[in-house]
């Protein structure tokens, strides 16, 4: 054992670049294999979640390719129009609903924007600032969990909610005063910056219908007009929201509800364009909802159909939340690109296998000579094999760990995926040892000593 470890250090120290190359090749191998496993696993995976209470199945859809795709949406001409078209199709599809919650962290960032535009005095008008003392001292009966202290006074953090008409219907939201959003409220004139908002019941004490307040969202400061107050104890069940899935319901008494914009008009400059892109991008996240009696095949077809909306525009992909990652982003590309990329990936895989094969061959050939010398000088053959086992296990396990570190989501995958990856690693180690033993045993000592 000591000898084996000793040899590893000696070999690696002198030949580190070749070991690094082999490790890199194995990282690529594991990345390709890991993503293939995830892809195959995802094809059969049940990506839907059953909401027993409400008797429906919901599937959260996210744009998988936004970060991982080769496409940079900001650089694509007409990207806003394409996003708008996709959103329009989704909005016409009654299976798709949108709701999203912004939390304290995001809202805090908006405060800085408000300060930049309006100065410190604007605090009094900035409703979204959750730490503003004085507004929310009292606890409601259904005590929220996110209470804070400000100047020794208990306050409650705010949340901002973006919602569309289908979500309002789905969650059964209604107002105690004023009006719910109309179709016009889902159209945002970026030039005027005016937007309608609904407020949670807790605000009713401080505001009236028609009051205007400043709201900051990334890039844009808006002038918000209070259109209505939600009924007390209005809530989102958290069965369809992206960020809070599975958590307790979100009570909207302390929330500012903004419309999810179906259409943004009056775009003139790059800043407007970026704002619109961000809005649309955010709004394209959504949830598919089906009755629990709907068959799996129909659900799969629906996912495909919705995905086609994205594909038609050629700028996005879509994938079920917790579903596939890795290769699925190919679905977001043009069909020609998909085939080309699949071919490239296949070639890469073949190249990778060949590269590993030749690297190992080189190692075995080189080792063969060194091994013969070692045996000639008294090293036992079993120790030689043990050393090789350690070296190859070191290379493969290091590569596996680095592949896991490279793709941080792997460790979060279900246990079967991690077991498969470990089994593949073990198989690779065994194969390498087998080929190594075969490689040295087919040569005599004399042949191994004479390299030329």
């Amino acid at each position: 054992m000591k000898q084996a470890l000793y040899d590893i250090i000696y070999y690696i120290r002198r030949d580190i670049s070749k070991y690094l190359l082999l490790i890199l090749q194995y990282i690529l191998f594991f990345t390709l294999i890991g993503n293939t496993v995830l892809y195959i696993d995802g094809l059969e995976k049940n990506d839907q979640m059953y909401c027993k209470k409400n008797g429906y199945v919901y599937i959260k859809l996210v744009q998988n390719s936004f970060n991982s795709s080769f496409i940079d949406i900001w650089d694509i001409p007409m990207s806003i129009e394409k996003m708008q078209l996709t959103l329009e199709k989704l909005n016409n599809d009654k299976r798709f609903i949108f709701s999203s919650l912004l939390h304290d962290q995001e809202i805090k960032a908006f405060v800085n924007e408000v300060n930049r535009y309006f100065g410190e005095d604007s605090y009094d008008d900035f409703l979204a600032h959750s730490y503003y003392p004085g507004y929310y001292k009292e606890y409601p009966s259904n005590k929220p969990s996110n209470e804070q202290y400000w100047n020794n006074e208990q306050t409650i953090n705010m949340s901002m909610c973006k919602i569309d008409s289908d979500s309002i219907q789905h969650y059964g939201l209604s107002v105690s005063e004023g009006e719910i959003f109309s179709d016009n409220d889902y159209v945002f004139d970026i030039g005027s910056g005016e937007v309608s908002i609904l407020l949670g019941a807790a605000y009713q004490e401080y505001f009236d219908i028609g009051d205007t307040i400043h709201l900051a969202t990334p890039i844009k400061i808006m002038t918000a007009t209070v259109k209505g107050f939600l009924k007390p104890n209005s809530r989102i069940e958290n069965d369809t929201t992206y960020e809070n899935m599975g958590e307790a319901p979100v009570i909207l008494d302390y929330s500012i509800i903004m419309p999810c914009f179906k259409n943004i008009i009056g775009i003139e400059n790059n800043e407007d364009k970026k704002f619109a892109s961000l809005e649309y991008n955010n709004n394209l996240y959504g949830t598919l909802i089906f009755d629990s009696k709907v068959s799996k095949s129909i659900i799969k077809d629906s996912i495909k159909e919705i995905n086609d909306y994205y594909l038609e525009q050629g700028i996005f992909t879509m994938t079920p939340l917790n579903g596939n990652n890795g290769f699925l982003y190919l679905q977001g590309e043009e069909s020609v690109s998909i085939e080309l990329l699949a071919l490239l990936l296949f070639c890469l895989f073949i190249y990778n296998i060949l590269a590993i094969h030749y690297s190992l061959n080189y190692f075995i050939k080189k080792q063969r000579h060194a091994i013969a010398i070692q045996i000639l000088n008294g090293k036992k053959q079993k120790h030689v094999i043990l050393s090789w086992c350690f070296i190859i296990a070191f290379i493969i396990m290091t590569s596996l760990i680095l592949a896991y570190l490279y793709d941080g989501t792997w460790i979060l995958q279900k246990i079967s995926f991690n077991i498969i990856m470990l089994l593949i690693s073990a198989l690779l180690i065994l194969l390498n040892i087998f080929f190594f033993i075969k490689g040295i045993s087919k040569k005599t000592m004399h042949e191994m000593l004479w390299r030329h």
């Binding site: 000898q3 010398i373 000088n377 008294g378 090293k379 053959q381 000593l449």
Partner: protein, 228 residues
């Protein structure tokens, strides 16, 4: 010390058999310095490999200190080499990834000696072979003569009673060949038996026995060896 009786060696490849040694009989005594000479393909390297336990016999008998060796027993031959023989090869057989010091210390490490012993013994051999200052060099940073001295130092480090050298001057110039001759003479004076396979007539001049091989047979013996 060494007796070979009717030793034959046949290589078989693709169902084609080649008889390389066709019945070798020889005796080497303790303290001999022996040359095995012959043209390329005469079988001298094969004979040397058999004596050093690197190749099994096809037939015949091999006695070392009156004990018959089973050359087909890998472990026995491994042990035999480990305990008795220091081997020097034409290509020096140094591990490229190891420094001079590490190459020389190699046999001592495998004998599981203490670090202190390894250090003392290796340093002594480095000094003896005139390799001071080269301890941390790697083989590819040394001249042919220096590499051969490292190979000799490594062969001597475990104090073997038999040194086997296959074409040890094959890669050396005249100057380094003479240095090597002096080393062999000195070793022989210390009682170490040396067997050398070579074409080099200068090297053969220091030997007390010379075996000439031709077509797998010993055709001529010079010195006090007689064909049995």
């Amino acid at each position: 010390m060494i007796s070979l009786i009717d030793v034959k060696k046949t290589y078989t490849k693709n169902q084609m058999s080649t008889d390389v040694l066709k019945g070798i009989n020889l005796t080497i005594n303790q303290g001999d310095i022996v040359c095995i000479m012959g043209v390329s393909g005469s079988g001298k390297s094969t004979l040397l490999n058999i004596i050093s336990g690197l190749l099994p016999l096809t037939s015949g008998e091999y006695y070392y200190k009156d004990k018959k060796l089973n050359t087909n027993n890998y472990n026995e031959m491994e042990q035999f080499r480990h305990n008795n023989i220091g081997i020097i090869l034409q290509e020096f057989a140094l591990i490229e990834d190891f420094s001079v010091y590490e190459n020389i210390a190699l046999p001592l490490r495998y004998q599981k000696n203490s670090s202190k012993f390894i250090n003392n013994r290796t340093s002594t051999m480095i000094k003896k072979l005139g390799l001071e200052g080269k301890e941390n060099y790697y083989p590819d940073e040394l001249s042919g003569g220096q590499q051969q001295r490292v190979a000799i130092a490594r062969a001597l480090t475990k104090e073997p009673e038999l040194i086997i050298a296959d074409e040890p001057t094959g890669c050396l110039d005249e100057h380094n060949t003479h240095i090597l001759l002096d080393i062999f003479k000195e070793l022989n004076q210390q009682g170490i038996t040396i067997i050398i396979a070579t074409h080099d007539k200068v090297l053969s001049s220091i030997c007390n026995k010379i075996f000439y091989l031709k077509n797998g047979l010993i055709k001529e013996v010079r010195g006090n060896q007689t064909l049995s």
